[in-house]
Symmetry: C2
Subunit: 122 residues, 2 copies
């Protein structure tokens, strides 16, 4: 029902379509994957161990969280360090690239709180 019936206007100029899709596409190649944005948002509050991070994210499973952390680390946004504690633990924290995303995620949360029905307060 949402399918359009119009033909492309003759002489349509592809340059009229806004630029920046490449960057936005790569942002959403990462953030457009369930949990990644929320994981980064939770880590914005500071370094966390795996169990605390999982609690903060919500209903994610261990194996999915583990996969996502590997992906986010591969993209250079999350750093994984083994702590000196006994027993040794693992902490996850944002890299400077991940931290640079935090203010944007804050704006996104504020936008959602205002404009999305299920947004809730912030």
């Amino acid at each position: 029902m949402a399918k359009a019936t119009e033909a492309a206007p003759p002489g349509h100029d592809p340059a009229a379509v806004p630029a920046c899709e490449a960057s936005l596409g790569s942002a959403f190649g990462l953030l457009g994957k369930r949990w990644n944005g929320v994981i980064l948002g939770v880590l914005g509050g500071g370094a966390l161990g795996f169990a605390d991070l999982r609690r903060g994210v919500g209903s994610i499973t261990d194996s999915v969280l583990s996969d996502r952390l590997t992906e986010l680390a591969g993209a250079g946004l999350v750093r994984r360090t083994v702590t000196d504690a006994r027993p040794p633990g693992v902490r996850y924290e944002l890299t400077s690239s991940g931290a640079a995303l935090e203010p944007i995620l804050g704006q996104l949360a504020a936008w959602a709180g205002k404009h999305l029905e299920s947004g809730g307060g912030c």
Copy 2:
């Protein structure tokens, strides 16, 4: 391999996990779905017909784009209007809620251009 071995610290305070996840969760409930962010980004350049929008988004199929537009319209971010042209066409444009997201998507694209390897210039 990324699975942690540490136990939750005794007396862990759940309030230490940062707030705003509800809003961020609802933002990514929508944007964390492939294509939605890019569709909104493309519509940020102005109203488009279905065919131009699809070209702008990239390798999306008609039926997926159609589904996404229905979802984004349901969330109040996109408006669908039938134009008076002959033959009648359909135009998609951002609502004020959708438009309020645009500056944030612009920042996200700039961040990706700077911090993600495949980000490209912007």
